[in-house]
């Protein structure tokens, strides 16, 4: 691969949730935040675990693991902060991750017809292929098992 090819390929941040890896387009990622306090308060929005305060901003945190691996994950302590929509710089959201993130480039295959709405494609890596996340679609997803009110659920 020459330099021109390398710059032409989009880059992605690879993150791990549970035992699976996913990719987010790097241009949407703002920062990987260290473990900070997750603030919880009553609400009824699905998938939101609470908010964190980062650099003077209040950033909503999504319980992405409930959608991506079908269960909440307790091992995630860092927060990957990204733009929910690429063209809206101030519309941020955070996903709890385990802190092991890496930058990668590769070819992206379009999503299959049976893929979930939050799958933007599949990133082909030398040793693996990982699903590329569509953050705004993920944010609009419903948790895998959500029978109780989020307001009450936020207590756990």
């Amino acid at each position: 691969m020459n330099a021109r090819e390398s710059t032409a390929q989009p880059s992605f941040v690879i993150l791990q949730i549970g035992d699976r890896r996913f990719a987010l387009p790097s241009e949407t990622v703002v920062e990987l935040a260290p473990p900070v306090r997750l603030h919880r308060f009553p609400h009824t929005s699905p998938l939101l675990a609470g908010v964190i305060v980062r650099r003077g901003r209040i950033v909503p945190v999504y319980d992405a693991a409930s959608v991506l691996i079908g269960r909440p994950s307790s091992s995630q302590r860092f927060y990957l902060i990204a733009r929910r929509q690429p063209n809206r710089a101030n519309d941020l959201g955070a996903i709890a991750v385990n802190g092991e993130c890496q930058l990668a480039s590769g070819d992206v295959r379009p999503p299959g017809s049976d893929s979930s709405a939050w799958v933007a494609g599949t990133l082909e890596l030398p040793d693996d292929s990982v699903e590329v996340l569509n953050f705004s679609a993920l944010a609009a997803s419903q948790p895998a098992a959500s029978s109780e009110s989020t307001a009450e659920g936020a207590r756990s």
Partner: protein, 177 residues
């Protein structure tokens, strides 16, 4: 004080700090503008003047009380916020609104310098519940919108039910006398 800026944007410091009352409902802390509260009473002191609603059409409102010549409604904040039911000890009687709110306890009064808009990610009932969020002593606290406790439709529905109950009671008294 109004929420400043777009969600996610750092708020400007308000020119005038806002005094708020911090209170607890089911282990969660909330803030309400002090000016929005006319009186804080114990549930015991209110109990003598409170009337139970026979057929509550709204789960969070089970009692009424009179203030001046107006019927006011007692909102259970646990039910309103979908929280586990606790035993409230205080009633915040709101100014301008015919509402008393059952809460667990008052924490303290405080001044807030900034109000953050609720992030757009929050799309549920909380958009009616809160004016925004504030950050006080390293804690994010929702700032209540007093008008969010009961909608105009809630008032209409309960007023109709109260009127019907009063008429029914008067009719019963006429028949039995």
């Amino acid at each position: 004080m109004r929420a400043v800026g777009e969600p996610g944007v750092k708020p400007r410091r308000a020119q005038h700090p806002e005094r708020v009352i911090l209170f607890y409902v089911s282990d969660y802390m909330f803030a309400i503008e002090a000016e929005a509260v006319q009186e804080i009473r114990s549930t015991d002191s209110l109990a003598g003047g409170a009337v139970e609603i026979e057929n509550p059409g709204l789960a969070k409102v089970r009692h009424t009380f009179e203030r001046g010549r107006q019927t006011c409604y007692v909102v259970n904040a646990c039910v309103h916020f979908h929280l586990p039911i606790t035993r409230p000890s205080l009633v915040l009687i709101l100014r301008q609104l015919r509402v008393g709110v059952l809460v667990d306890r008052i924490d303290r009064m405080a001044e807030i310098l900034a109000l953050y808009a609720l992030p757009e990610a929050f799309t549920g009932e909380e958009r009616h519940w809160y004016r925004g969020l504030t950050y006080l002593d390293d804690t994010v606290i929702p700032v209540i919108d007093p008008a969010g406790f009961m909608s105009a439709e809630d008032f209409r529905r309960l007023d109709r039910a109260q009127k019907a109950a009063t008429s029914s009671g008067e009719l019963e008294r006429v028949v039995t006398s």
